[in-house]
Symmetry: C2
Subunit: 262 residues, 2 copies
Amino acid sequence: MSGNGRRQTSAEKVLGVLTLFTAERPVWSPERAAKRLNVSLATGYRYFNTLVAAGLLERLQRNRYVLGPAIVELDRQIRDADPVLREARPVMERLLARLREPAAVLLCRYYREMVMCIHQETNKTGEPVSSYERGARRPMFRGSTSKVILAHLPPRTIANLWRDHRREIATTGLGTTFEEFKASLRALRQEKVNVSSGEVDEGRMGISAPIFDANRRVTGSVSIVLLSPRMNERAIARLCTHVYSAAREIERLRGRGTGVKA
Amino acid sequence: MSGNGRRQTSAEKVLGVLTLFTAERPVWSPERAAKRLNVSLATGYRYFNTLVAAGLLERLQRNRYVLGPAIVELDRQIRDADPVLREARPVMERLLARLREPAAVLLCRYYREMVMCIHQETNKTGEPVSSYERGARRPMFRGSTSKVILAHLPPRTIANLWRDHRREIATTGLGTTFEEFKASLRALRQEKVNVSSGEVDEGRMGISAPIFDANRRVTGSVSIVLLSPRMNERAIARLCTHVYSAAREIERLRGRGTGVKA
DNA sequence: CGCAAATTTCTCGTATTTTGAGAAATTCGC
DNA sequence: GCGAATTTCTCAAAATACGAGAAATTTGCG
């Protein structure tokens, strides 16, 4: 899958430890990690100590390590500095304010052949409308949130996705040949806003529009997620208009950038 | 300040790049980072490429890098897995539900000689009650949120804090000698709940209780932050009771742990 | 389109680190 | 304070990180 021929650098090996920590296994010991990474026990301890020193890992008790507080702090830095998020947030709040029914508004982006949620605004009325919250990733080929991004990715990325996910593309009905796949994407590009139902969460409807940067490259999407799949055409059309203008508004604001020099 | 005599490992140097990214300077180029870290330009690029490969950095445009999406994803993993946060959340919601006035409920912890917010619940009524949100850090010696943790830190940590922050401790009125400082902390330990006003944010009042783990070591604090400094004794006493029982409840729940093996 | 300037990668020999194996030290539950 | 488990330390061999500058690539602009 990944991994070109080049040998890993030492730092890459150390950072590889972080990828072991998943929802299924959020606690690791140096011993088990060493076995998994095919390094000696001593090296396992060395890697863990390095990451603990950086705050990326934290020792709960002897032999039990979890992801560390530096990550929490760094994410805060990102939320604070991210110009797209800063500008999008008030737009998302206004979009949500227009909705009477239980709903969530999502801001998403492309990351590593998937789509990741960057921010969710919700008018929570008890039950959660969408489990798609900041940092969560969803497949590239299902749900309006993903599909509007997919449709506008650069040709090179599209080709790589076809190479890596041919099977999944077929099962989601986007095509069994590369030509069919490209035709599906072309069709998606025709519609300004995409509406899909039940492709990610049962009984949820998504209405999404892509967001582009100054160079007309897609940087993400804005979406409304609704509980009720029962809506008349007219109401849906109205929401599509709102989502569309939210996307354009985010683009206009984002266009100004941060002006921060490197 | 930090830095014992031992030489840095290669991975430590690479990870040191991450600490360059601050709120004041969220965008860095390999060139500038290399200068700052006293390494060659080629090494600067090598470091950045390693971090980009791990997703910890992201290239915005040529020469402009920001903290990367892997951090967002890792923080999501932490929120998902952190047993304290999982158990504390509903308790915090219930605590907030008891309050009529604009308020925030905070969960905080000790991290690197400061106190970091882990979670904030708020009944937002427009203006934000507290800017102290997840990932933000505050000084160790001001505000009830910090002080209840400070008071119960192990003697070794207390001594280190005195060594590193003598000046700050004096200006916050916690003592001009180590003996005075320890006496102040002893006094803080006497009260079950601490109330302070305007020590962090102007016109804000904090009411905080420490949270302990199974070994009676302090793991953090729960707090209510209120806008109005004008409250009668009785109302405050009532809130103290609530904060205190919230802390005890979080301890009881947390006691069960995740049961996840390393 | 093509040029010039800036950015980014590559090459290479040397100096420095990293690594594994096992010994030694430390920690922790009881 | 004892014994078992965890964690650090030691050392020499193997691997790689490093700087300097050349080479390649990208980008802005006419």
